[in-house]
């Protein structure tokens, strides 16, 4: 089932399968290391429900929910 990073629960790890949406935003997300094949974990969500903090490539990054929704993902270990 195709999901996006915005749908993860805190603690969930997912493997990125695609990044879609606005070209400039996609490029930024990719540059920060959120790209197909990499594992991303949702660490926590801000008290007001947005933004979300993720762990990727050994560092932490926060994305707005709308930005996280641009990143499609699957179970870790999937291709």
């Amino acid at each position: 089932m195709a999901r996006t990073l915005a749908q993860l629960k805190p603690g969930d790890i997912a493997r990125v399968s695609d990044v879609t949406g606005d070209a400039a935003l996609t490029q930024r997300i990719l540059e920060m290391g959120i790209l197909p094949g990499n594992d991303v974990q949702l660490v926590r969500v801000a008290p007001l429900g947005d933004p979300m903090e993720f762990a990727v490539l050994g560092y932490r990054i926060s994305l707005r929910k709308s930005e996280a929704a641009c990143v499609q993902c699957a179970e870790p270990g999937a291709a």
Binding site: M32, D50, L57
Partner: protein
């Protein structure tokens, strides 16, 4: 011997310092160059680069500190600075012949993304590897030799705060600069590589029209970055035909896979290959320490509580605790001004006024902002070093994003409720250019403390102090409402700005959440010094100039014709005093001259006794106030007793030396009368000169324009004269209403004069409607030269302060007029 004689050209080098944000770049720059630095600004760009110099043996290095960036793919002119600096295309900035690439060992993969882009340019490069201790804590170890071999450049471990590796970095750089570097070749998909090479050829053919010689990596950038600044440049230089060719190349290279994805995968693919060689990771609990802290600091309840406490403390310090410092600075500068003025010749009235009001007033007007600026930046520097700024933004982003802003806009806007100047300077923490500019534009809407005197004066004089709804004081309610006028108009302004001129398709939030670190004192002090001196040097000159210009507008033409009647009054008062003292002297001792009366032993003694007695009475009143101030009844009783004692002593004095005492009292009375007439004449002269000044004439000429606001020329002139700072209106109104410029907003006599003031038809000048219109105008106008100067400094353009002034003045005018007519319609 000059330094240029000692070194030949080959011994001077220029090095660019480049890296991600939060990797210790500024600290390394300071470790390399010390205090030998200057700031370079570039047209159209709100970021700046710092230049400094350092020596190694006989070589002098000029180091250019570039803004921290995650990628060389520029999306705005601000992000373009790094690439332009690397290629030596910035005005007044030398082309670098080497690069120091700073990489954070604790997140090396992501840092190397920028690294691959920099190494593609083939400039001689040395890598400064920072945060090795943090990485070790997290179980990450880097094999330096393997990393160096893989990247083809030297790697030096650097810990700038303890100066570790700084000397080695310089030595390595010195060696490297004599060996030209080799551009890094990355395994891009063949289609992408081919398209980029083809585009490079086309770009070279276009170089005359472009105005610069393009480089090979730039062709890749143009190919991938469909919305980059280069797109616009080639459209202008090469026209539609070139853009069409570019689109064809993009389609050919894409083959269904986005070019940005192809590029990122090629770079990160290469990076993970390198990392498999050079990096080893073991499980560690270091990150969990930060996570444990975050579990509290980003917790729904505790995190919010800590946030409110930290913000409350910050606001309290800027708003109230800076007060004594600001008063101290104003008092000190004022005192110094008086000392300097007293050294000037008595008859040089213009020079004395220029020095006292124009120059020292202006200098005081600059320095008075330092406490608030330094306190805010103390908080910002510590919170940023600590890593809390990102958490604060994380907590607030949801709310701020509704207004098209980001979580990082919160602190600048909050501090603007104390003063917009530190607030605007604080917008540097916002990475996105458009969000930053929007925040800068909104900062003056927040109700700063300079508006308070205007509100105090108007509310005190014209809003009845009655209780409404059973428990609310109407005056307090109006003051509270005034605080929300600015923010209420800021919200629609923000939404219009972000959808209009400052529209960007997306304003990505994408914020790194660094690990918590202990703030370093040296770092904090450096930030305070930089921000403080930058404000004084850059904004200070503008503020001083405005102060002098407004002084001149209020001084000239300073016609002696205007002064003459007042001079006559003073003359008459002096003559009358002389006549009176002669009469008293003659009565005391026939033939005695008035001037000698006070020197008669008896009279002198009586004068002294009376003076002492009056001083005792004044002291007694003060003590009563201190002792019984809380109890009106006890205070009245104490005052009655003191007064009785005073009168009794006075009678006693009178009984003992009747003649000398009467002479002394008569003399005192005559003196007081003379002084009062002279003071009235002085204030009247100031008012008449102000009316006759250039500014006063402008006020008269613009009177029809002020009419919709319910103002006459006097209020209008006060508003214009308060362009340097809003609170100046209180003093200006004091001058115009012949009370002198030293009045305070709480001053009862100014209040009474305003209440009693009549317009040309003899009706009260001020009504509740007029007072509300004045307050609303000052809530929304941009009457603060210092804010506009800082805006120009921070946006590096006059465009923003001018736009801000025009927009806010128009808005203030329209809303104040509407307030006046509505309030008048309701009978105010």
């Amino acid at each position: 011997m000059t330094s240029s004689g000692r070194h030949n050209r080959a011994d001077r080098h220029v090095v660019a310092l480049i890296g991600n944000p939060n990797v210790g770049k500024s600290t390394l720059f300071t470790a390399l160059t010390g205090t030998r630095q200057k700031v370079a600004n570039f047209p159209g760009v709100t970021v700046e680069a710092k230049l400094g110099t350092t020596n190694f043996e006989n070589t002098e290095f000029t180091v250019i500190d570039l803004p921290g960036t995650y990628s060389l793919a520029a999306r705005s002119p601000d992000e373009r600075v790094a690439i332009d600096a690397l290629l030596g295309r910035l005005p007044q900035t030398p082309a670098p012949d080497g690069v120091i690439l700073i990489l954070d060992a604790s997140s090396l993969d992501r840092n190397l993304y920028l690294g691959t882009q920099v190494l593609e340019y083939g400039l001689p490069t040395v890598i400064a590897l920072t945060m090795v201790d943090v990485a070790k804590d997290r179980g990450i170890s880097i094999d330096l030799e393997k990393l160096s071999a893989a990247l083809g450049v030297s790697v030096v471990v650097v810990n700038a705060p303890s100066n570790l590796g700084v000397a080695e970095l310089k030595a390595t750089l010195h060696r490297q600069l004599h060996h030209p570097g080799k551009p890094l070749e990355l395994p891009f998909p063949p289609g992408l590589r081919q398209a980029a090479d083809d585009l490079y050829q086309d770009l070279c053919d276009l170089s005359v029209d472009l105005g610069y010689k393009p480089s090979r990596p730039e062709a890749m950038r143009l190919l991938v970055d469909t919305a980059g600044p280069m797109q616009q440049e080639v459209r202008e230089a090469g026209g539609a035909a070139f853009v069409e060719k570019l689109e064809q190349l993009r389609n050919r290279a894409a083959q269904g896979r986005s070019l940005a994805l192809q590029e990122a995968q090629a770079r990160y693919g290469q990076i993970s290959a390198w990392m498999r060689e050079a990096k080893q990771t073991q499980a560690s609990d270091a990150r969990t320490r930060t996570d444990k802290v975050d579990a509290i600091l980003t917790h729904k309840l505790w995190g919010t509580l800590v946030f409110v406490l930290v913000m409350g403390l910050m606001f309290q310090s800027i708003y109230s605790w800076s007060g004594p410092l600001m008063e101290g600075i104003e008092g000190g500068i004022g005192w110094l001004g008086e000392q300097v003025v007293s050294l000037l010749p008595q008859d040089a009235a213009m020079l004395r006024s220029l020095v006292g009001s124009g120059i020292f007033g202006g200098v005081g007007g600059v320095l008075v902002f330092l406490p608030q600026i330094l306190i805010l930046f103390l908080f910002i520097a510590v919170l940023e070093d600590l890593g809390y700024m990102s958490r604060a933004a994380f907590l607030m982003d949801r709310i701020m994003s509704r207004f098209g802003l980001s979580g990082r806009s919160f602190i600048p806007l909050l501090s603007s409720f104390a003063c917009a100047i530190p607030g605007i300077m604080g917008t540097r923490v916002i990475e996105d250019r458009n969000t930053r500019l929007t925040t800068v534009f909104l900062a003056p809407f927040m109700s700063c403390s300079a508006r308070l005197p205007v509100y105090t004066l108007m509310i005190g004089a014209f809003v009845p102090g009655q209780t409404v709804l059973g428990f609310l004081n109407l005056q307090g309610l109006v003051l509270f409402a005034m605080y929300w006028v600015g923010p209420a108009f800021a919200v629609p302004t923000a939404l219009v700005l972000k959808r209009g001129i400052l529209k960007s398709k997306v304003t990505p939030f994408l914020m790194e959440m660094p690990s918590y670190k202990m703030p370093r004192l040296k770092n904090v002090l450096r930030v305070l010094y930089e921000r403080g001196s930058s404000f004084v040097k850059r904004a200070g000159t503008v503020i001083l100039a405005v102060s002098i210009i407004v002084w001149a507008l209020l001084w000239f033409p300073h016609s002696s014709q205007v002064s003459q009647p007042f001079e006559n009054q003073r003359q008459a008062a002096t003559e009358q005093y002389e006549a009176e003292s002669n009469r008293l002297a003659n009565g005391y001792k026939p033939g005695l001259a008035g001037a000698d009366l006070a020197a008669q032993p008896d009279v002198e003694a009586a004068l002294q006794d009376v003076a002492e007695l009056q001083e005792t009475r004044a002291q007694g009143q003060q003590e009563d106030q201190a002792a019984f101030g809380h109890d009106p009844q006890a205070l009245a009783e104490a005052a009655r007793l003191d007064e009785a004692a005073y009168v009794a002593t006075l009678q006693e004095l009178k009984r003992r030396h009747k003649q000398a005492f009467d002479a002394a009292m008569g003399l005192n009375e005559a003196q007081a009368k003379r002084d009062e007439v002279i003071a009235d004449a002085d204030h009247g002269e100031s008012a008449a000169l102000a009316e006759d000044s250039i500014l006063g004439r402008v006020g008269h000429a613009l009177a029809p324009a002020f009419r919709p606001l319910g103002w006459d020329w006097r209020i209008g002139m006060g508003a214009i004269a308060s362009f340097p700072a809003r609170e100046v209106i209180v003093g200006t109104l004091g001058t115009i209403f012949s009370l002198g410029s030293e009045v305070e907003a709480e001053d009862a006599s100014l209040r009474d004069h305003l209440v009693a003031a009549k317009d040309e038809d003899g009706n009260p000048l001020f009504t509740l409607a007029t007072a509300l219109s004045v307050m609303v105008f000052f809530a929304l106008c941009a009457q603060c030269a210092a804010t506009l100067a800082v805006m120009r400094r921070e946006t590096n353009s006059w465009k923003w302060p001018i736009a801000s002034f025009l927009y806010m003045t128009t808005l203030a005018y329209v809303v104040a007029a509407a307030t006046f007519w509505v309030a008048r319609g309701l009978g105010g």
